[in-house]
Symmetry: C2
Subunit: 386 residues, 2 copies
């Protein structure tokens, strides 16, 4: 490992996200990281980064000695293969979401992380959002008591036909292994398990190409149930504008609502509704409540925050905001939703990763879908995306 005061980073995959990360590193916004190498099969995508070494092959970059750490921004399937190669070569690894396309690949990738001195993180940049951090803190502190119900409508992932036509890997079983659940929603699925833990069963209704001419899901309604009976609903689509991002969490002590990412509204019961239910001597009363607005403080550094934390973990032993190992949960949720749809059944968790991999392989093998694509000459500007 380098003894320099900066992490020497190589980025593989110089599409929209890779380019955005490279720019923020060069601009000095991403902490103690030096961009020493970039890698892409399309040579022209590396041109803007003339101070970094250029590679057209990830194995060559991994073996080059030019980097201490790698940031993987390639299409999803290769997260697993490149991640394993990099971990086996002793590099620190930061992988874009999802960490892999399916649970069995996640397990393979995570198994390659044998040397815990190597830092292995995932780009779950929404974990830096102050409102989610605050909500998590409030839940952990028991402010809601036992959680009874969760409802997350996250439908502000609108994407146009042009978007889907802009990359031949996009929205295909072979290219992405799914649609909105694999590309847009890993963030919310990760936040879900980070905030509430994993459910014990999942039933989902995924619609394939409902709003776009694609072979994967662009519309999902999922029901999740926990061991203790707590229920959840997760709704997403790329076909809706203006879209909604509203998370409602109900516990025995009240209700918290995040409508957007900027505030938490807490309707707080003066006594637990369970206690009130059991002890009231009238039929229709409810506990008295407080209407509480919880201000959200702090910056939301997003990708830059994850990059910075990654460097600090390498250089100073800082605790990771998003260990890659935790990335298996969002993949398992996404896979379970698709598997539930394919089999028209309620899936008990943990999901059988091998069974899902077999179903997905079959989807790829039997795909006859011909995707419309357009020639995109410029790298998409993803600076405003999440």
């Amino acid at each position: 490992m380098s003894k320099s005061s900066k992490v020497r980073l190589g980025i593989v995959g110089m599409g929209g996200m890779g380019t955005a990360h490279a720019k923020s590193i060069i601009a000095g916004e991403a902490g103690r990281i030096e961009l020493t190498a970039v890698c892409d099969r399309k040579i022209e995508l590396m041109k803007p980064f003339e101070d970094a070494k250029h590679f057209d092959d990830s194995d060559a970059m991994i073996a080059s000695g030019e980097i201490d750490a790698i940031l993987i921004c390639t299409p999803h399937y290769s997260h697993t293969t490149i991640g394993i190669a990099a971990l086996e070569a002793g590099l620190h690894v930061l992988v874009e979401k999802p960490i892999s396309v399916h649970k069995a690949d996640c397990e393979r990738l995570i198994a390659a992380h044998t040397n815990k001195k190597q830092i292995f993180a995932a780009m779950f940049n929404q974990r830096t959002t102050p409102a989610y951090i605050k909500l998590r803190e409030l839940i952990k502190n028991g402010e809601l008591g036992k959680i009874q119900r969760i409802n997350w409508i996250i439908t502000d992932w609108f994407r146009t036909d042009y978007y889907y036509a802009s990359g031949d890997w996009r929205a295909t079983w072979g290219g992405e292994g799914g649609g909105v659940l694999l590309n847009q929603c890993p963030h919310q699925l990760d936040l879900w398990q980070w905030l509430f833990g994993m459910p014990s069963k999942v039933k989902a209704f995924c619609q394939i190409g409902r709003f776009h001419d694609i072979e994967v899901e662009d519309d999902v309604t999922a029901y999740l149930e926990y061991e203790n009976g707590a229920t959840g609903v997760f709704i997403t689509t790329t076909g809706e504008a203006p879209g909604t991002n509203r998370l409602e969490v109900v516990g025995e002590n009240g209700k918290m609502v995040l409508d957007g990412r900027d505030s938490i509204t807490f309707t707080r019961n003066e006594v637990s509704c369970r206690e009130f239910c059991a002890t009231a001597d009238t039929g229709f009363d409810t506990p008295d409540v407080w209407n509480v607005e919880i201000p959200i403080k702090g910056e939301n550094p997003q990708h830059k925050g994850i990059l910075k934390n990654f460097a600090e973990a390498i250089l100073e032993g800082a605790e990771l905001l998003a260990p890659a190992e935790e990335g298996i949960h969002s993949v398992e949720l996404a896979n379970s939703m698709l598997y539930s749809t394919f089999t028209d059944s309620t899936v008990e968790l943990p999901l059988d990763g091998a069974a899902y991999e077999a179903v997905l392989k079959k989807k790829i093998e039997t795909s006859t879908f011909v995707k419309k694509t357009v020639e995109v000459t410029e790298v998409a500007d993803l600076s405003g995306t999440y």
Copy 2:
């Protein structure tokens, strides 16, 4: 039929709702109705209404010649039997919700309405709520365009253990034929079909006695899908306080939200998101929107409005706000949600009414549940309920 300028009404079932209706009629709040008879097996419940004839048998009241019309406020199962008897006797009939407990009974009841000169209405008093009337008008006028998604969280039906113990018929298969879906939610299920029409399939997750010691459902999450792919989620429970009543309706032209019953928020796309999706030459843009607040005008007469309209239909041929025939839809939705849970399957609509009736009968026959009850000496004050 009487030639008086008022409808001579008899109420059967002088529990909470029957008593509340009687009081508002006597107070002159319910239009051109005269309370000429009341009927209950519990003699003492009729005492406050000394100007009306008292009956302890509904057939006797129906045959008495004292009434032109009957308002049925008995436990749900007898809505069918008393309703049929009253229709066959030539009376006008107003029946509390649900019109019957299950679809097959609804069909029997509706079949008895052969003489269309007899007015036959249902107490869907939430149809008088100005916000729902406005929303319906906006949808019918095409302001939202084609509807894509509906989400109704209606969990402000909190009920205590005392409530369930306050009547031995409550929350039993034999007494009510269900829980929150049959007692509290007929309103919202009726509004759902009134606003959006009937779905083509239903999958629901009902939890039995999750929050109360009862043998029927007190917690429901249901997924509804329409022929054209539109999706819906309906969530209800009597176990949650403070609870939520939030209806979000998304169409291609934008989104309308009713949070409570007092306002409609309309986020309006300048162009349809479907058109925008197909024609944009960028991947991440969304249509420009207007943020619109739609003021809600007018009174909300609730039960009194339905009573008044019932009398006006009889006396002047006014159009019914809530024809009883339409009451079959909310029952079919409730039955489908329970049937889907019992069979752990997605139910295709129309529901097989005979199959559901058989399942329900089995529930009743095999019930071994012993319900805790408390002696309630006063009639519950339902003036604040919906």
